[in-house]
Symmetry: C2
């Protein structure tokens, strides 16, 4: 795919290993230079992590994974390469020495990129024979997942080489950010460094523990930073009054001791004007209202993502939902009619390109309804842990109308049949607003002995509860469509 | 639910409005004090945003929304309240004046919480008659979505009141962080302030634009901050060598000009020891490998979340997938057998409490297969934009085996029937490893005129392409189970 196909990676630590994984998973063969015997096993662990992550991340086929060769000889690593990524420790003399070796052995057109977090490319390239092909390509850990790579050239770096590196990084799924000016620590790490220095003060002064400091970010501003930087966030907070107005309120607080790092620029009209202008450009056509919606849509999805892995702000959300659930009034189920088991609203994420609730989300709602039924008949966690469960054998869905975002729906459940190992149900999704049916699902479910992976009789409690419902539901009329298959077409 | 039920909010700006929304959506009635005539319309916009977000966020029923009353009289707002949240502008004299009024009119046990971003509670409470019930409850925008609230008491604040506030905030879905020591700007805003001051330097010095600075965070470190703070991130980056070893490498760089904010603490043995110890405690039982997995699982989900809203790092992911797709070798479809349309791996997110692929994810995979078929027969975006589409009428799924995480699966599609408006297909999901069938789905699909919302004939291209497949597939044997319904049970 990419312009470069023979990649060498110099140094196989956390960053170098992350690069190796990203390159391999993009189908590129990699020669890794690392004198350390344990490098390969460490890098293999990173590759395994990356493969696992890519399996979950990508909805398209990946190219066949590249081949990794390890060498303890720099010459061997670089002499046939056309792209080199250097990742030795952040020590100026060491970097200079290794880069000189690379420069000596690599073909003269081969691109040499350093992963340094902050050393200046002009200084690193000063003694190279071919300095024009040297630049910084600074990634973030884990390199195989985070898209950002900062590209910074030195005085002698050619523009073409910077663009070639950017194209290559883009081809392997990254977001290159080409710096206009060379500066120690580039952009991101300057921000991180300021943050870090303040964090060290907080620990040193005994204000907070490292856990409290981390929590102060990951439950708040950190959730926003995954989608918007501080300038965009402040633009939104400023609202319709505008960025200029918002910024002018900051003037005084920059003199306040709100950090120990007090050497700050004057937020004068010139700086306010520049930020305002750049912020307008950044926002483009998006109004404050639109930015608010985007921010909220993103935050909702991020919170739900964290909930799925039971972590941080996602745990807070789960605790909150549990509390809401326990506070909700318990409604008594009426067994003499189909059971009203589930209510929800159609969510933004459920909408397809037709603007309607997408088909598998119907089954999700039917599945949630089945879960509530299982709950009611007594299928507890401990029942499942004891080696028994209930599996769905068959589902027949009929779509009658299209659901749209925000519509309130409810699901009723009619027990159509029961024997000692199976039950058959009919779920019906009805739209609250006009009481019209959106979809129905007939399902056959079976009691399973998980260990033996075969059908078995329902446990005693489940059997009793199902029978109690069945006593009522067997008297209900069965709709015509139940039990029918999908009909053949009179083919043309 | 909560101990407090009569809530007053003082000041209806972005923060006050966010509080109003959170309180109302938790079923609490709110009296809002704001002298500004336009406050109500601004607050209503925030409430609408919040309702929309909660519809998507919560999978459980919310309590009935509370009632909002607006008043321009502080006394009226607070005299019957048991909980007050103050949000007037960040001006010490103004806050003191308003707090004095609140203190005078509110019942003496009523909790008074200030949303100040950094003013000291000891100074704010100094002249109150009942200072023990005053504290800071500092939230983050948008208040209705971000869980963090920093609780900071002054010298005269009672511990009981701090705990009561924490309990209340927790009840309404928040993550209270009680500060052990009072400090200007508390914890989070100190970190944000250091970051902000550095960001201002970068703009002032012409190093980067506000957009570049924001991008340098949201495509990199910002994605991590949604789940882990910097200490935890560094712990992982340090790997098995440990936090102490990792930190000792930082010593020198604190003397480097990696930020303009150079007034930094000495990272001596004492500070390294303290951080190491606290970091061990924070990590608890989680090994570096486990933390890496959690981090990657979170990052994958966050990236996919952003992809769904087509924003930031999610756009980068979409561009990357498009590139991979266009680079993938095109395989010629063999029409003489069921079409091999789709391949994927079973993703972590698809696994249910039984450890198996959950049922609606089967339909998702079947739906993706249908989408690929529609793609092949020529249902383009412009076809849909011109007012035509194809809807699923019915689906009959049969589950034969359980899919497990990471298993490779493929789907083949047999066209079972075709007329001028409908077609019927049989999709089969097969596990790559042992060529055994996991599930089948029979589907009936129909051509639809979207504007008139009724069946119509297929467009010419679609019709030709379907007919071409049908010419081959009508010769294929039809499996016995096709067309069958779900059978009745011999009931017990």
């Amino acid at each position: 795919m990419a312009e470069f196909s023979k990649v060498a990676v110099i140094g196989g630590g956390v960053i170098g290993g992350g690069w190796v994984a990203r390159f391999l998973l993009n189908g590129l063969d990699v020669t890794l230079y690392d004198p350390d015997d344990t490098a390969l096993s460490k890098v293999n662990r990173i590759i395994a992590n990356a493969e696992r992550a890519y399996d979950d991340l990508l909805d398209v086929d990946r190219p066949k994974i590249g081949v990794l060769n390890l060498t303890s000889d720099i010459r061997e690593a670089v002499e046939n390469s056309d792209f080199i990524q250097e990742n030795v420790p952040e020590n100026f003399e060491l970097k200079k020495k290794i880069l000189a070796e690379i420069d000596q052995h690599a073909p003269e057109n081969t691109l040499i990129c350093s992963s340094t977090s902050g050393l200046l490319p002009t200084e690193l390239q000063a003694d190279l024979k071919h300095p024009e092909r040297f630049l910084v390509g600074h990634p973030f850990n884990p390199v195989y997942l985070l898209p950002l790579v900062e590209i910074c050239g030195g005085d002698l770096t050619s523009e073409d080489k910077k663009n070639a590196a950017a194209d290559f990084y883009r081809d392997i799924g990254m977001k290159p950010l080409i710096l206009k000016k060379e500066i120690d620590a580039f952009i991101a790490d300057r921000l991180l460094e300021a943050y870090w220095r303040e964090a060290l003060w907080l620990v040193k002064d005994g204000i907070a523990t490292v856990e409290e400091i981390d929590d102060a970010i990951r439950y708040g501003a950190g959730l926003r930073w995954a989608m918007m930087g501080t300038f965009q966030v402040y633009r939104i907070a400023g609202g319709d009054a505008g960025m200029r107005h918002f910024l002018s309120q900051f003037g005084p607080s920059l003199k306040w001791p709100w950090t120990k790092l007090m050497d700050v620029p004057e937020l004068d009209d010139g700086l306010i004007g520049r930020i305002t202008e750049q912020s307008d450009e950044q926002a483009g056509d998006l109004s404050i209202q639109e930015l608010e919606k985007i921010r909220d849509n993103g935050l909702v999805r991020i919170l739900k993502s964290l909930q799925r892995i039971d972590w941080g702000a996602g745990e807070t959300l789960s605790d909150y939902e549990a509390k809401l659930k326990s506070n909700a009034p318990k409604s008594q189920l009426d067994y003499s009619r189909p059971l009203l088991l589930h209510r929800t609203k159609i969510k933004s994420d459920w909408i397809d390109y037709n603007g309607h609730m997408t088909e598998h989300r119907y089954l999700q709602v039917f599945g949630e309804t089945t879960d509530k039924l299982l709950d009611i008949i007594g299928m507890t966690d401990s029942y499942v842990k004891s080696g028994f469960s209930i599996y769905t054998l068959e589902t027949h869905i009929r779509h009658l109308q299209e659901g749209k975002r925000g519509e309130e729906i409810y699901v009723t459940t009619h027990l159509l049949g029961l024997d000692s190992k199976r039950f058959r149900v009919l779920h019906v999704i009805t739209r609250e607003q006009d009481s019209s049916v959106l979809a129905t699902a007939e399902q056959m479910l079976m009691s399973v002995n998980i260990t033996e992976n075969k059908a078995c009789e329902f446990g005693e409690v489940l059997s009793e509860n199902l029978t109690e419902i069945w006593d009522y539901h067997q008297k209900l009329p069965i709709p015509d469509f139940a039990g029918a298959g999908i009909k053949s077409l009179q083919t043309s």
